[in-house]
């Protein structure tokens, strides 16, 4: 692992030690990464290495969902239109329709729900097929979301990993780690030049615009916020934040050595903080409880120091 001190940033000097402590804690558990947390209302922020383009894994489902919901809000796409997903042709994945063994017919807007709440790859790729990967990418650029690129369906991540490892997850992970150390990429969806990518700053900017209704249409952003609030995974950003008075609306992303989550923390007090936590590690394991918790600790430390 390359040893390099991350470039910390903070809007005020008293927030800088918070960013440095998080970077230190991530380093201790062996997570390299990028963090940006910003108070949506005050603009105060802290983080480190915020501008690096990082392969997004399932975090890409957030911009996808926004483009689909935008099409629905515009009337270009019928939210009730049934889409049938066939096990023979659907994308693979462990959750949602991707894990179904029999054909399922799901309405378009419910595909968005599945893609966001349980990170269903089959539903996400059905949506990519409906609107087109290039259209999603073009819409993001039209909205001024520089720093986020959408270049492939979700299934391509699986295909690339399986292709180089003969469908052996352990081997694919080993290879990915060795590639990361060597600085070249035999798995294309881990190569920032070819993968769906985003930087922490671009993702936080997107969340901020979604939460402030400054992108797409209010109906679309409201629906995206609502569905992100229903995500079932809570092992990362929300692992140390959830309470009756604090909610996390997020989307995780996990692929080989990548462990991400972006989201917005909201509290009864009215405080709203958008966070993008993008990590990779050389841990030879698919589950790394301590890294997930370190992301949770970072989210909590950032939220508590940025709220008023």
């Amino acid at each position: 692992m390359r040893q390099r001190r991350p470039e910390c940033l903070a809007s005020t000097p008293d927030l800088l030690p918070v960013a440095e402590a998080i970077a230190e804690q991530w380093h201790e558990v062996g997570a390299l990464g990028h963090l940006l947390a910003r108070n949506i209302d005050t603009g105060e922020e802290l983080g480190f290495d915020v501008d690096t383009a990082v392969p997004l894994a399932s975090v890409a489902k957030v911009p996808l969902a926004l483009v689909v919901l935008d099409e629905i809000a515009e009337g270009a796409l019928d939210p009730a239109m049934p889409v049938t997903l066939d096990p023979a042709t659907k994308s693979v994945g462990p959750t949602g329709v991707a894990a179904f063994r029999h054909p399922a017919t799901v309405a378009v807007v419910d595909l968005v729900h599945q893609a966001l709440t349980v990170s269903d790859n089959a539903s996400a790729d059905a949506l990519f097929d409906l609107v087109g990967v290039e259209v999603v990418d073009q819409r993001l650029r039209a909205w001024g979301c520089e720093g986020i690129r959408i270049r492939h369906r979700m299934q391509r991540m699986y295909d690339c990993a399986a292709g180089v490892s003969n469908n052996d997850f352990g081997l694919a992970l080993e290879l990915a780690i060795r590639d990361d150390i060597a600085g070249h990429h035999s798995i294309e969806t881990l190569n920032p030049a070819y993968a769906n990518v985003g930087s922490a700053s671009a993702l936080v900017a997107l969340l901020q615009r979604v939460w402030l209704d400054r992108i797409s249409r209010p109906e679309a952003t409201a629906d995206l916020r609502r569905m992100m609030g229903l995500q079932v995974f809570n092992q990362r950003l929300s692992s140390d934040l959830r309470a009756d008075t604090v909610r996390v609306s997020g989307k995780t992303g996990s692929f080989l050595y990548l462990r991400h989550e972006i989201g917005v923390v909201t509290a009864d007090s009215g405080d709203r903080v958008a966070i993008a936590a993008l990590t990779r590690s050389h841990r030879r394991a698919s589950i790394a409880h301590d890294i997930d918790l370190a992301i949770g600790a970072a989210a909590r430390a950032a939220f508590e120091s940025l709220r008023r």
Partner: protein
């Protein structure tokens, strides 16, 4: 037998040397006076006056007892005078919460003295201030009311040995939850003194703590403020208190972000005493008392938490979470 009335009759007859003049002096009918003298003579076991002559004269017993009878009467008179004087200058009892600023309270007492009103300051628990006002043992009292409707609002915060927040930020109860995987020992107990451990305020705070994810055992009532300050200084606890109390004990202090948990006060006067110029006293006393309790000027706290504020995306809050 009313010994005092009988002694009065005896002294009057002895000094006037006449039953009729004595009766006039005491505003009683002469037969009543005569009966009293007879009763007293029976009570003492001997005659006080020689009635055989034209001029009434005292017997030897009557002469002997006269100074003693006068002494008893003068002492009773003194007793009544003292009681009257004490009642005239009776202190207006004022019930205040614990830990008021002594200098500000001294100004209240002095201002009263200048206006001829004796203010007796009594530091009492919240319930006793309310009951004292009801039963008339207090003339004025600062009563606890909800901060959002209160005339005087005293911000509450958490005092601690080390700062709880970065800079001058307010503290949220959620921040006090133990950190997962942190392993930094037991999280500090939140100490609550009697003033905040009563009625609706206690209920509100416990509910807010539960909703913020704190276990019930984290909040503990303490008997005295001094031991609470000591535990807090030792770094084992944080203390719910107003800023002046924390500063007086050399503690760090951060305000609670949820202002519905702050203290609210209303200055009230008893309804039992009318016509004592109570309203006039309230007028000059109120601003001085506000200073004594450390009230802030802003009378309308922003409501956070109580009504939830804007929560546009949580239309499914009653749904179970898988």
């Amino acid at each position: 037998m009313d010994l005092l009335a009988h002694l009065e009759a005896y002294v009057a007859v002895a000094e006037e040397g006449s039953f009729s003049r004595a009766a006039d002096l005491l505003y009683v009918a002469q037969p009543v006076l005569s009966r009293r003298i007879k009763n007293l003579e029976r009570h003492l076991g001997g005659e006080l006056f020689d009635r055989s002559r034209r001029q009434v004269t005292s017997t030897d017993l009557g002469v002997l007892l006269l100074p003693h009878a006068k002494d008893v009467l003068s002492r009773v008179d003194h007793l009544r005078q003292v009681a009257r004087a004490a009642l005239a200058s009776a202190a207006h009892a004022l019930g205040v919460p614990p830990d008021c600023d002594p200098a500000a309270l001294a100004r209240v007492i002095r201002a009263g003295a200048e206006r001829g009103v004796t203010i007796g300051v009594r530091e009492l628990p919240a319930e006793d201030r309310a009951s004292g006002l009801a039963d008339g043992s207090l003339v004025f009292a600062l009563l606890r009311v909800a901060p959002e409707t209160a005339t005087h609002r005293v911000p509450l915060g958490l005092a601690s040995a080390a700062p709880l927040t970065v800079g001058r930020r307010s503290v949220h109860l959620e921040s006090l939850r133990p950190r997962r995987g942190g392993g930094t020992g037991t999280p500090p107990t939140i100490l609550v003194t009697a003033e905040d451990e009563t009625g609706f305020a206690a209920e509100r705070f416990r509910k807010a703590a539960a909703r913020a994810g704190l276990s019930e055992g984290r909040v503990r009532a303490v008997a005295t403020a001094a031991t609470a300050a000591a535990e807090t200084l030792a770094g084992h606890a944080v203390l719910l208190c107003p800023e002046p109390f924390a500063r007086r004990h050399g503690l760090e202090w951060s305000p609670l972000a949820d202002s519905t948990l702050h203290r609210g006060y209303e200055l009230a006067a008893t309804t039992r005493r009318v016509g004592h110029g109570v309203d006039l006293v309230l007028d000059w006393m109120e601003p001085m008392l506000a200073e004594a309790i450390g009230a802030v000027d802003d009378p309308s706290p922003k409501s956070t938490g109580a009504d939830g504020g804007a929560r546009p995306d949580s239309d499914s809050r009653v749904e179970g979470r898988g």
